[in-house]
């Protein structure tokens, strides 16, 4: 897209109102004018505001190329990676609205506290549990096996929190594990080397786990890596049901 030399973008940015306000989720939108550039990303816009308009703006980023997953924010009402979102694709009438991820406490302005998100990975038993030591040879996993294919479908998650921010059930049930944690659990349930299957299925069962998923598919639709997160949760429903009927849950 060609951009006029004097084109300006009006950007509404969420500003939290001090430490007390942060805890209460309070704040307001503040509007900035940012010059338009070709191939400009939303992260470029936020960086411009911090460097040229208000150095107190708080936000988080690292790699700038869609690898680290740290720059996710809500842009025009949808959670996205700001580094991989071109302004051309999302600006409506030359306007942008940038807010912190939903369903997570705000540390400051656009930066959220991801602790609860990653604690839930641990609660869903997202840690690999193997039996081999480093002195033993590699385990053989057939690349074409169904289990390995299922792992491939979900293994590329980088923990950006976009799915978690987009999930209605997380909003309704703060203890709900969320799509990313359960996707991680699903990759391990399908890992033939893993030995904690029963404990993991027990960890993801019930009202705070896979059985609370409404299959709205917001996570699948919004995932920047297009991972089939809803299908992973459905897989956990199937496996927990099998375990339940066998008396193993």
């Amino acid at each position: 897209m060609t951009v006029q030399a004097d084109a300006v973008l009006k950007v509404s940015v969420w500003r939290s109102s001090g430490p007390g306000g942060v805890a209460a989720g309070e704040g307001r939108f503040e509007t900035f004018e940012v010059p338009r550039h070709p191939s400009q990303t939303v992260l470029d816009v936020v960086t411009h505001i911090q460097r040229h308009c208000d150095p107190t703006l708080g936000y988080r980023f690292a790699c700038r190329v869609g690898v680290c997953g740290s720059c996710a924010m809500v842009v025009n009402s949808e959670a996205r990676w700001t580094c991989r979102t071109h302004v051309d694709k999302v600006a409506e009438g030359g306007r942008l609205e940038v807010a912190p991820l939903r369903n997570l406490p705000v540390i400051r302005d656009l930066a959220t506290d991801m602790s609860a998100f990653f604690d839930k990975w641990a609660r869903a038993r997202g840690q690999f549990a193997g039996t081999r030591s480093r002195r033993e040879g590699f385990a053989v996993v057939e690349p074409d096996s169904e289990a390995r294919r299922q792992v491939d479908l979900g293994i590329e998650c980088i923990g950006c929190g976009v799915c978690y921010s987009s999930c209605d059930v997380v909003e309704w049930k703060p203890d709900y594990l969320g799509p990313a944690a359960m996707n991680r659990a699903w990759t391990l349930v399908n890992d033939v080397r893993d030995t904690a299957r029963a404990e993991r299925l027990a960890a993801v069962a019930g009202d705070a786990g896979c059985h609370a998923c409404h299959t709205h598919m917001s996570c699948t639709e919004r995932c920047p890596k297009h991972l089939p997160l809803t299908a992973a949760i459905a897989g956990l429903k199937r496996e927990t049901t099998r375990a339940l009927l066998r008396g193993e849950l």
């Binding site: 309704w172 027990a202 069962a205 019930g206 009202d207 059985h211 049901t241 339940l244």
Partner: protein, 116 residues
């Protein structure tokens, strides 16, 4: 309630949904068919009194509702109102028992001769 019990509830709601999908279609189709030449209480009772298949059909319909509805309502109340804990379980269990008792009573009333 343990996650295991919650998983049983989830399974019970899915299985009851299968029964309801069938029962609702039969119920609606019967209504549409039955009202073609006008509908009266007498016509309904003529069809249902002493008719064991209809009693079994509506009894299974009632059981499926008594299982399905309280579990769904329990989820709605927990998600929309944030109501959790033993009181919610007790309230939805009472609702389930009520649906079962009054539903079966209604099915029996249109089956048993002279009961209505």
């Amino acid at each position: 309630m343990t996650p295991r019990a919650q998983a049983w509830l989830w399974l019970a709601q899915r299985l009851s949904a299968v029964v309801l999908a069938f029962a609702v279609v039969v119920h609606l189709a019967t209504m549409v068919y039955a009202v073609r030449s006008g509908l009266s209480a007498g016509e309904i009772l003529d069809r249902t009194r002493g008719n064991l298949p209809w009693l079994l059909f509506y009894s299974s319909f009632v059981v499926a509702i008594a299982v399905h509805l309280p579990i769904g309502l329990r989820n709605v109340l927990a998600e929309v109102l944030g109501w959790r804990g033993p009181l919610l379980e007790i309230a939805t269990a009472i609702l389930s028992a009520g649906l079962l008792v009054w539903g079966l009573r209604a099915a029996w009333a249109v089956y048993a001769p002279g009961a209505a």
